[in-house]
Structure formats: structure tokens, C-alpha cells
């Protein structure tokens, strides 16, 4: 085998390796990327039922309900970004750091009946921590700007939210004064 053909072989092997890696990556990107959505975005444009999304927001205080289906515990709670609320249904043990009135990220699918079926619920770090994406969603919805101090108290936040969510469903949304 000549030096040239050996070089050619090496180049082909490299191309094959990187080519298959690229093909696999692009293929996986088309189906496996998980988008982050705030509750209002889910209301506005519900994702396809087989599409996994990350839903993030604050857990509405007093909204956590527990049931048992057969022997499986099911938790239901509302997640809000201040403009709309989505009911999340989760079968399993809620994480240790899950609290009402605090931020949460749920990974799952939006089912056609309007509830969100979570396969995983994440509540990370200590009680002052807020996932970046949730903070961003809250800022966009105009409910809280991280530049102006701590997130509002859970109690005030929920009365505001649930009403807003209803209003939102009833008619065009009203802007709050700044």
C-alpha cells in the first residue's frame, strides 16, 4: 500500500467517524431537544402531546393536592408565571426542597386535557435559589424583576396570580401598571 493510499484511508476513517457523529447529533437534535416554557406560553401555544418540555414557574401556595390512584401517590399542583397557571400532575415523591410558593421546574408533556404530566420535578438548592430560566420567565411576564430585590412573598403573589389566570382565560389580558 502506498503512502498516499494510507493517507486516504486515514482521512476516510476520520470523515466517517465525524460524519456519523454529526448525523447522530442532528438526528437527535430534531427530536430530543427540550424547550423551556412558562405556563403562559403553554396556554398560548400548547406543545404537541408527545413533545417533552420543561415547565418552570412558581408553585401556587395552597394548590398542592394529593390523591392515590390504586397505591400510587399522585400530586397535583399549579405552576404559575404570574400570567397563567398550569396544573401539573406528578406520580412520585416530590423532592425534599419542593415548597409551595417557591420555584420549580417540571419535565414532562402537556396532555390534551390541559394538565401537564410531569415525569420529573426539580426543586434545587436552598429556598432562596431560583433557576435562571424561571427567573427569566418571571421577568418577562412582568411580575418580578430580579434587579429590584427578592422575589415577592408567596402569599401576595398567589392571590394575584390565580385571579390573573382566570382573567387571562376569560378575555384579553390587562397589563398591570409598572
Amino acid at each position: 500500500m502506498t503512502r498516499k493510499s494510507r493517507r486516504l484511508w486515514l482521512a476516510c476513517a476520520c470523515l466517517l467517524g465525524l460524519g456519523s457523529a454529526t448525523a447522530l447529533t442532528l438526528n437527535a437534535f430534531s427530536s430530543n431537544i427540550v424547550f423551556f416554557m412558562a405556563p403562559s406560553q403553554i396556554h398560548a401555544k400548547p406543545p404537541a402531546p408527545d413533545r417533552t418540555v420543561r415547565l418552570g414557574g412558581m408553585v401556587v401556595a395552597g394548590s398542592v393536592r394529593r390523591q392515590t390512584v390504586g397505591e400510587t401517590p399522585v400530586a397535583l399542583f399549579d405552576v404559575t408565571d404570574g400570567q397563567a397557571a398550569v396544573t401539573v400532575r406528578y406520580e412520585g415523591i416530590l423532592p425534599d426542597l419542593f415548597r409551595e410558593g417557591q420555584s420549580v421546574v417540571a419535565i414532562g408533556t402537556a396532555s390534551p386535557d390541559g394538565t401537564f404530566r410531569a415525569s420529573e420535578v426539580l426543586a434545587k438548592h436552598d429556598e432562596t435559589y431560583m433557576p435562571k430560566e424561571v427567573a427569566e420567565a418571571l421577568r418577562r411576564s412582568g411580575k418580578w424583576d430580579p434587579r429590584y430585590g427578592k422575589a415577592p412573598d408567596a402569599a401576595s403573589w398567589d392571590t394575584m396570580t390565580v385571579r390573573d389566570a382566570r382573567k387571562d382565560a376569560a378575555g384579553p389580558q390587562q397589563q398591570h401598571g409598572s
Binding site: 457523529a21 430530543n32 412520585g92 434545587k124
Partner: protein, 659 residues
């Protein structure tokens, strides 16, 4: 007083590192033996200063000196002694100091054990290590000084995150950091070779022990981290494809490629430029992995507090180290003489294939990790990629890697043929076919099925390699054993490490068949899972040193025979108002029974408890495989050829000629 001493020692170490970066380099350029001889002394001096500094910080933590801000923020009087010590590196400032200390140890080790290196090469290697060290010590001193005082000193510290109060996590960071930082030595060798303009077989032989040692630590660190998340986080998961985990996997992949390509440099003087690039790349990935994650650019559970000054400093430092070394590579690499070419079907051909596949896997993991932050930076879209993405991309590339790994070590150098090698592996082939049949009966998904099959192929292939070398069953047993004793340890180590990969992959494949169940039960109720009957017999409260716990008792019976009694519990830490879940695991090495106690519901008179029960087949094998891999590395490090004899350059005259 002692924190001031520590601060002074830290500043002294920074100055010594600066001198270490400059003087030996000038000495090597001017061929001044006195300046070159300063290198090991400066490296050892820096190491001593850093040891003093670290000891002062540990002393402040043990002595509850809450006037030191770092101790006040991360420790408390009530914390057990072990966690007072390990808590030193459980935070940003302390972990940067530990990082610098390990880098100092690497420099000192090259100074002390590198006596048989040519003095110019040794001076340059130590100088490069000193330069990296100076940068990070400056970072430590200016933006994250662990010795900063706070006034007035609080009476008690804020305490440590209870999740981190665990012996597994206590030893995970030092081991992982040693792995990350250890790759600084091959990096320094690569830079020194680029400055010198010369890479040869001897260089490959000098680099390899350092790369193998770092690789062993990194392997152990990753396995330990995965084990920690398995038994502490209580999700029954072992790998989350979190950016931090990926940050350790990426240098591991390129480091594994480096360990293999250095063999080709050593034996065949080929792949030289590529190996230099791998050495630079591996350390660059280690650096960016540790620090990008900590700077908060990647959204991760591990990110420490966000501080823009730190972020800018770190980015500048990374750009300097990585950009500078790549620039040097671009300028000097063409000056290196290209290596010989070789036949595609040969040992070195398969090692190239190994490198291509490992780097492809590395590329997809890197893409999956970096794509979300880039999308959010450039287009403001918040997306994430998780386990499905990595499963769909990394696994199909890993399977051909396993397939070639089974017979790669048996291929002869230079020119080989597939058929004679495969013919000697007939019994490994039969074993693999049997494994496929057995696995196909239990595993329905195609990827885990193929992974399990080829894992058996790798283990059988490694065994066949050794059996072939000692002519097992073809000679009297006594003679075979004699041959086994004469076998180079490097060959045994390679076979052991390959078998370790097989063991790990078998564990991963079997974990795809794990079963779990989440139930809400009363005391006395029985659940069935994977053929076992799990009965909750008791739940009671008990006090701990700085927490109160709720302990459940679960009896597991198989066909009426008691298998084990599990005690999962929940701990409530009053000082942080935080709850942690303590998992109970029973293992018989073939499977884990894993129980988690969840919330308590119902009325006080009639409470119900949520339980999560897992049956994890072959789970311990995942980490056992990592341990076996590291043991293989250690075994090959103990090979005589790795240490003596080799480090004599064939043509010393070439040193001058190359310039």
C-alpha cells in the same frame, strides 16, 4: 494569626510560581545550567508554601475561626470534625486553593521524580506548570481569597449544605481534581516539546506514565461522583448528563485517547502531532470544565455564587492558557517532523480508530453540553438537552468502539490480518453469541442489548489476550504460570482496564432493565417488586448529632425467606430548615435493592407513607468497572519499562539540530 500566615504563604507561592514560570525557561533557551537547575527547587518551594497555606485554612476550619469569612459561611460549631475538614474544599474559595495545591504537587513531583529527563526538557515542563500555577494563584488571591476576614466575627457559622455532609462527597473532589490537574503534566510536556520543536519515542514514553496516572484518578473521581449521586440524591439514577458530569466526562474521553495515542508515539513514532494536540486539548477541557461550570455560565446545580469579576478573570485566564497553547501549536506544529505512516489493519491502525471514535463521542457530548448555553446567549431561547439526546448519540458510537476493543490488543504491530486474530478468539466469539442469546431473552431494546453483548466480547477478548500470551492449555500449566509471571505488567494492566470497561458497560446495560415502584402504604402493608415482597414494618423518629430523623423499617422477603431489612430515613436539619433523604441499599453484587422513604400523609392516627422501591440489576458493576479500570492503570504504571531504562534519548545531538 494563622489565617494571615496562610495568606502570606499563598502570596509567597504565587511569587515562587511566577519565578518558576520565567527563570527556567530563560535558562533552557540560553542553555544556562544554573537557571535550569532552579526549576525543581522552585517547584518544591511552591509546593511547601501551598501546603502551609492549605494547612492554615484547615486549621481555621477545625478551630472554628469564624472571623475568616470562608469558614463563617460554610462551617458551624455543631458540624462533625470530618466535615469541618472536608468542608474546606466544599466551597468556591477552598476548592480553588485545593486545585492550586494539587497543581503544586504535580510540579513538585516532576521536580523530584523527573531526574532522568534531559535538563532542558525538565526545566521547560516545570516552567509551564509554574505559569499555569501563577495564573490560578493570582485568581485565588485577587478574586477568591479563602483567608478574607469578616468583622465583627459571628458567634456561629452558617453551616454546610446537608447534602454535602457525606463521606462519599468528602473524598470525591480531591480525587477528581487530581485527575483534572494531573493532565497539566502531559500538557506541560506538550508545550515544552513544541518550544523545543521535537517529539520522539522517548517523549511518548515520558508522557505516558503521567497521563495514565491522571487518567486513573479521573476514572476513580467520575465513578465516585456517579456512586455518590446514586446513593445520596435518592433518585435511583447514576448519571444525569448534567453539565458538571459532562465536564468531567469530556477530558476523560480525550484523556483515554491520549493514553492510547501516546503508545503509538512510543512504539512507532507516528501520530506525534496528534498526540501533542490531544495533550493540549485534554488539559484545556479539564480547565474549562472545572471553571466554566463554577463561573455559572453553564446552568448547573454545582454553580457557586455568581460574581462577574471572577467570571471575567477566569475567562481571561482560560483564553490565555488555551488560546496561547493553541497558537503555539499552530506556529510550531509544522516544524515537528511528521511521523511514519502505517497500514490500516494493524495494532496502530486500530489505535487510530479508537482515537477517532473516542473523539467523536467527545464531540457529541461537547455539542450537547455547549449548545443550550450558546442558544440562550445568541438567540435568547431556553432549551435543554438531556438523557435521550446523549443516549441517541453517544451509545451508537460507543458500540463499535467496544467491538474493536475486544480484539485490538491482539493485533500485531505494523502489518496484521483480521482472520488469524479472529480465529484465535473463537471461544470468545462463542461466549459472546451465548451472551447475546441470554441478553435477548431479557432485554428488549436494541442499544442495551448490543452494549451487553459487546461488553461480554470485550471481557472475553481481554481474557483471551492474556490466555494467548501465556499459552494457556497449550503448554503444561506450570509453564503457563511461569510465562504469566514474566508477562509485562503493562499488558496485564491493559487487559484489566479493558475488562473493567466491559464490566461497567454490562452494569449500564443491565440498569436499563431496572424496575421501580412508587407506592403509598400503611405500616404492615406489603408490596411486590421484581419477585420480592417488600413489607413496611415500622416507622419511628430518632435524634442525630445535628438533625432529627424519621426511620422506616422495610423487610424484603423472597419466597417467604427474609432477604434483608432496609432502614431508609429522612433527616431534618433544623439549622438550615432542610430535609435530606437517606437511601437504604442492600446489595449482593448482582443486584441492588434500593428503598427510599418519602412524605408522610394521612392523619396522625392513621398515617400513610410514600415509599419508592427500586430493583437495580448489576448496579454495583458500573462503579466496580471504574475501579477495575483504575487498577489496570496502576498495574501498568508499576511496569518497569514505564519507569527505568526508557528515559534515555537515543540521539542527544538531535536536541540542538532540531532548533
Amino acid at each position: 494569626m494563622s489565617p494571615e500566615l496562610g495568606n502570606f504563604a499563598l502570596a509567597l507561592a504565587c511569587c515562587l510560581a511566577g519565578a518558576q514560570a520565567v527563570l527556567p525557561l530563560i535558562g533552557a533557551q540560553r542553555r544556562d545550567p544554573r537557571l535550569m537547575a532552579m526549576a525543581p527547587a522552585l517547584a518544591v518551594g511552591q509546593l511547601l508554601a501551598l501546603l502551609t497555606s492549605f494547612a492554615c485554612l484547615v486549621n481555621a476550619a477545625i478551630g472554628d475561626d469564624f472571623s475568616v469569612q470562608n469558614v463563617a459561611a460554610n462551617s458551624a460549631v455543631a458540624k462533625p470534625l470530618l466535615y469541618k475538614i472536608t468542608g474546606v474544599w466544599g466551597n468556591h474559595e477552598g476548592s480553588v486553593l485545593l486545585w492550586a495545591l494539587i497543581l503544586g504537587i504535580c510540579g513538585g513531583a516532576v521536580g523530584l521524580f523527573g531526574r532522568n529527563l534531559p535538563s532542558a526538557l525538565r526545566a521547560r515542563v516545570i516552567a509551564v506548570l509554574g505559569g499555569v500555577s501563577a495564573g490560578f494563584l493570582l485568581f485565588c488571591l485577587t478574586t477568591s481569597n479563602p483567608f478574607d476576614r469578616v468583622w465583627p466575627a459571628p458567634l456561629d457559622g452558617q453551616g454546610m449544605n446537608p447534602l454535602l455532609q457525606d463521606p462519599g462527597l468528602a473524598f470525591h473532589p480531591p480525587i477528581l481534581y487530581t485527575g483534572y490537574v494531573g493532565f497539566a503534566v502531559p500538557f506541560a510536556f506538550a508545550i515544552a516539546a513544541l518550544i523545543e520543536g521535537r517529539v520522539d519515542a522517548a517523549w511518548g514514553r515520558w508522557v505516558r506514565p503521567w497521563a495514565v496516572a491522571a487518567w486513573c484518578f479521573l476514572t476513580c473521581g467520575i465513578a465516585l461522583g456517579s456512586w455518590w449521586s446514586y446513593y445520596v440524591l435518592g433518585w435511583g439514577g447514576y448519571w444525569f448528563w448534567d453539565p458538571v458530569e459532562n465536564a468531567s466526562l469530556i477530558p476523560w474521553l480525550t484523556g483515554t485517547a491520549l493514553v492510547h495515542s501516546a503508545i503509538v508515539v512510543e512504539k512507532r513514532e507516528a501520530l506525534k502531532i496528534w498526540t501533542v494536540l490531544l495533550a493540549i486539548g485534554t488539559f484545556s477541557f479539564s480547565l474549562s470544565g472545572t471553571f466554566l461550570v463554577r463561573s455559572g455560565i453553564l446552568n448547573s446545580v454545582h454553580a457557586f455564587a455568581n460574581d462577574p469579576a471572577r467570571g471575567v478573570f477566569i475567562l481571561g485566564l482560560l483564553a490565555l492558557v488555551i488560546g496561547g497553547s493553541l497558537l503555539l501549536f499552530a506556529i510550531r506544529a509544522p516544524a515537528l517532523t511528521a511521523g511514519g505512516m502505517f497500514a490500516p489493519v494493524s495494532r496502530e491502525g486500530l489505535l487510530v480508530l479508537n482515537n477517532i471514535l473516542l473523539c467523536s463521542i467527545c464531540a457529541v457530548v461537547l455539542t450537547g453540553t455547549m449548545y443550550p448555553p450558546f442558544m440562550s446567549l445568541l438567540f435568547g431561547k431556553t432549551i435543554s438537552v438531556g438523557k435521550p439526546f446523549f443516549d441517541a448519540t453517544a451509545a451508537p458510537l460507543a458500540i463499535p468502539l467496544l467491538a474493536f476493543m475486544g480484539f485490538g490488543p491482539m493485533m500485531p504491530w505494523k502489518r496484521a490480518q483480521f482472520w488469524p486474530v479472529l480465529r484465535r478468539l473463537w471461544w470468545a466469539g462463542i461466549l459472546t453469541a451465548a451472551a447475546f442469546a441470554l441478553a435477548a431473552w431479557r432485554i428488549r431494546d436494541i442499544l442495551p442489548l448490543l452494549a451487553a453483548t459487546f461488553a461480554v466480547w470485550v471481557i472475553a477478548g481481554s481474557a483471551a489476550d492474556i490466555a494467548e500470551r501465556i499459552r494457556l492449555f497449550r503448554m503444561p500449566l506450570g509453564q503457563s504460570l511461569h510465562r504469566a509471571r514474566l508477562l509485562p505488567r503493562a499488558a496485564l494492566g491493559a487487559a484489566l482496564a479493558h475488562a473493567g470497561v466491559g464490566v461497567s458497560v454490562l452494569g449500564l446495560a443491565a440498569m436499563s432493565q431496572a424496575a421501580h415502584k412508587i407506592v403509598e402504604v400503611r405500616v404492615g402493608q406489603t408490596e411486590m417488586l421484581a419477585g420480592d415482597a417488600w413489607t413496611l414494618t415500622d416507622v419511628h423518629a430518632a435524634p442525630g448529632p445535628n438533625y432529627t430523623s424519621l426511620i422506616a423499617t422495610i423487610e424484603v422477603r423472597h419466597d417467604g425467606r427474609l432477604v434483608t431489612v432496609l432502614h431508609p430515613s429522612k433527616r431534618t436539619f433544623a439549622s438550615q430548615n432542610q430535609t435530606t433523604t437517606e437511601v437504604a441499599i442492600h446489595t449482593n453484587l448482582l443486584s441492588d435493592l434500593y428503598g427510599v422513604l418519602g412524605d408522610r400523609h394521612g392523619t396522625d392516627a392513621d398515617p400513610t407513607y410514600v415509599l419508592r422501591l427500586h430493583y437495580n440489576p448489576l448496579a454495583p458493576w458500573m462503579w466496580l468497572g471504574g475501579l477495575i479500570m483504575a487498577m489496570g492503570g496502576v498495574l501498568s504504571l508499576s511496569d518497569r519499562r514505564m519507569r527505568v531504562g526508557a528515559p534515555r534519548r537515543a540521539r542527544l545531538a538531535g536536541l540542538v539540530a532540531a532548533r
